[in-house]
Symmetry: C2
Subunit: 217 residues, 2 copies
């Protein structure tokens, strides 16, 4: 049975992992007969956003503890993730990626990636193990795979421009499809960068999971 | 297009709505060509539970604001739900139902139902509009539909016993199936009362959504 490590950046689109993307990723991993383990960094969220009105609340929440809401408690600290024990890596999107996994939300193309997240992404890349990055998560990829990595975030000109500035190649892609960099074994899909409903998001996510598991040894 | 009102009790299985059940319910409503609007009561959660270790944190969170994490902000206060504008009602489970929608978690069969939730449940029942209740949510049904309502929570003897004590009829049911009270137009499925994975949960939830939409005028 193929084993997938899934990285969660919290729980909730505006300050954490996009919940629908996370659940659909886990659902399709299971549907294809693979297993998964969720991981998240044991760190404070950059901010907490009231999802009703979009305003910061001033609360403090922990990324790992919030990610546990999606995973029904079954999430491990990212420090315990050993790439050697898994066949593939997947990262759902949400602003948590742009706020907790890196500082893209604040610094755009001048962003830095969280050291733990960067190390894990590179560990899978260097081991030639495939990875799937959803939604906004592809902003991490020029830092992980280096110049020339082919990715999509859909058709958002600002985010695509930042990816190109960081050395990536952005490929436009509809919500129900994927972009695959076959030489680097990394697959991306726009998900809620474009999705207007769960059915559209599911199509692209299902294809991403299928392709990543196909690439997994 | 059939319209479904979906009631969320927060975001996270141990103090709010079960996230997987909520997303799968919304997914299958969409897949069957119906539309939905999420609602939640604008009230403080009974408690906040750290989903990593199961302990109460002492924080205060609002059910409506947390539900907005699942609904990407698109959730309305339960006070704005008018049953006349919808064809069906659905309630995912999670401890939020037993802690925020009623006090079953504390008082078992002596529980009381939140007045707003009770009124909405009864409004759909009295209008002969179908409803689907997942997981632990069927504990509400003897209060909403009165004695003799046929429901399932799977095979949990304690919860089933409490439902019978309150006047309901509990029917054992596997995770991938539903129990339908055809005279009252109310459908139940065990979901995470029994589910050990997303694929099993999805089977029952898919059947519940199909049956409720079929019953909807």
């Amino acid at each position: 049975m193929k084993k997938v490590a899934v990285l969660l950046s919290g729980s909730g689109v505006f300050d954490g992992a996009e919940i629908n993307e996370a659940v659909l990723t886990l659902l399709h991993i299971s549907k294809r007969g693979a297993s998964y383990q969720c991981f998240a960094p044991d760190m404070e969220q950059m901010q907490v956003v009231n999802h009703l009105n979009g305003e910061q609340t001033g609360e403090k929440r922990n990324v790992l503890a919030e990610a546990a809401r999606i995973a029904r408690g079954n999430v491990k600290p990212l420090s315990e993730l050993n790439a050697a024990e898994f066949d593939a890596l997947m990262l759902p999107g949400g602003f948590g990626v742009a706020k907790n996994f890196c500082d893209f939300a604040e610094n755009g193309a001048d962003m830095k990636v969280n050291k733990e997240v960067l190390a894990i992404g590179k560990a899978f890349a260097e081991a030639n193990k495939p990875a799937g990055y959803l939604c906004i998560a592809p902003v991490l990829l020029p830092h992980i795979y280096g110049k020339g990595v082919r990715v999509t975030v859909g058709n958002d000109k600002e985010v695509a421009g930042a990816i190109e500035k960081m050395g990536g190649i952005h490929v436009e892609c509809p919500v129900d499809d994927i972009v695959s960099d076959d030489s680097r074994l990394v697959v991306t899909t726009p998900a809620y960068m474009l999705a207007e409903n769960l059915v559209d998001a599911e199509k692209g996510i299902s294809k991403l999971v299928e392709k990543v598991l196909y690439m997994a040894a």
